[in-house]
Symmetry: C2
């Protein structure tokens, strides 16, 4: 199958951008990938075969591209969008991989002359360790890939041919596309990803305060598994915390659930909380 | 090495009792294990080679035993202790595997004529699935095993010879003995085990309320791992919730940590919460 985009600029060649480049080149050997990042990252990305060309200048990297894939932290995407809109050819489609979508899509509306130049995206895939070293062509396999419908009167199916080609790329790299609007995405991401992260941080802080250094000698495997996200670095979450407007409410609701459990510790009513929790557990493992 | 105890009564032959019996018999082939449980459990325990003899009558099962190992739910242990104290030979040592220790040790003080007849214990090991079917001679390997010092004026090292022999058994089954008082145990267990469990239930309930059935289609692997404990059944936790007096305070402190994180979402101060959390993560993996 011929590459849906012949020349692809990948802006930010870390874990996500690097994995996208590797997956794209595996699916479409005739696609040419141009990288833009810090010089040492570009060197490593080239050594790993993720990129064919590179430039330290955003304008040069975007030249003649028909797809621009922006894989920077959320605030970095928002800051660079005006420059990207200026550098990308008018026929190019610009998409991104940011973890929150409302702020980015608002910035894109301001930056691009036509709403059809930009389609927001969010591959729901990640690793504990970031960077091009950990990039993997299989990162997106079987993972949901949120796509934000362009703000036009036309339904997605009838939209711009470029959007259909982006969809073909998402499917070719093994991901499961899910069309959703930006605000609904952020609300779902708050509950499914950002709240669990903050809950892990809060639990770790509380355990450390309550049990101190004895935590290591008396903890069982349950705590270690539950706190897998507690190892995630602040830098990965800074922008998400600042741009997901639903996260504060999700934290409030978690505190309410904890308060309810506290009042039910001596009561049979707690059985209901466990039943709902067991249901979600099975749902996440597709057992029911 | 000759068995420190020749005849061992195991009261409750589920995951923990069955695993203890299997591990004991592997370490000391000359030890004879007598099981007490429901008839169908005893049949399966005998088929698995965990017990040599069994009885449906507690008095018969305890006859001539020199160690009585009580592996029932916490409230079951408390309820049976008077009958066990009456049935066990005066020379026998009684120990248990309950997940909270203060209420059990108070009940033992009331039930036994001498405080040296009973030593509380808590193997910090478990599985997602309970029952004799999942019993495993390696369950306790490299896992902490809390032992509650008997309430006597003598330090543990000079205490009753039976206590030294129990210690030898704990070490022989591969566990790491940790001497601790009952209240400190319950406080640590609240933070290291019972709070993480309740946090997983609260998070699951909140995620299900906030994201509904869409949780399954847009969730990533982080949520699934974080909610591993959410699959635990209510029955395993009922007694723990009712008997750990530190759990309510631990839940309050978790709510305070969440409140702090909420106020810091837009602030660099959040870096400090991540730093402490990252520290615990590494500690639990012995990386620092």
């Amino acid at each position: 199958m011929a590459a849906p985009f012949r020349r692809v600029a990948v802006l930010g060649v870390g874990l996500v951008g690097g994995s996208f480049a590797l997956a794209l080149k595996r699916a479409f050997p005739d696609a040419l990938v141009v990288g833009w990042d810090r010089p040492e990252v570009l060197d490593r990305a080239r050594d790993r075969g993720a990129i064919d060309e590179f430039s330290a200048h955003l304008t040069v990297a975007c030249q003649d591209a028909d797809l621009v894939y922006v894989a920077l932290p959320v605030v970095g995407i928002i800051e660079q969008l005006p420059a990207i809109a200026a550098a990308a050819p008018p026929a190019a489609l610009v998409t991104d991989s940011g973890s929150t979508k409302a702020a980015i899509c608002r910035a894109a509306q301001r930056a691009f002359p036509s709403p059809e130049n930009f389609v927001g995206g969010h591959p729901v895939a990640g690793r504990e360790h970031s960077g091009i070293e950990n990039a993997d062509a299989d990162l997106f396999r079987a993972a949901p890939y949120a796509l934000i419908a362009p703000v036009t009167a036309k339904p997605v199916a009838q939209s711009d041919d470029r959007v259909q080609r982006l969809l073909a790329v998402v499917e070719a790299i093994g991901a499961l596309p899910v069309w959703i609007d930006a605000d609904s995405h952020d609300r779902l991401a708050a509950y499914l990803s950002h709240l669990p992260q903050m809950a892990a941080i809060a639990l770790a802080v509380t355990v450390l305060e309550g049990a101190g250094e004895k935590a290591a000698s008396l903890a069982g495997p349950g705590l270690r598994d539950t706190l897998r996200l507690a190892g995630s670095p602040y830098g990965v979450w800074t922008d998400i915390c600042r741009t997901n407007s639903h996260l504060a409410e999700a934290l409030d609701r978690l505190r309410e659930s904890l308060e309810q459990i506290r009042t039910r510790l001596q009561s049979e009513d707690l059985r209901d909380d466990f039943a709902r929790s067991n249901h979600l557990y099975k749902m996440l493992r597709k057992l029911e």
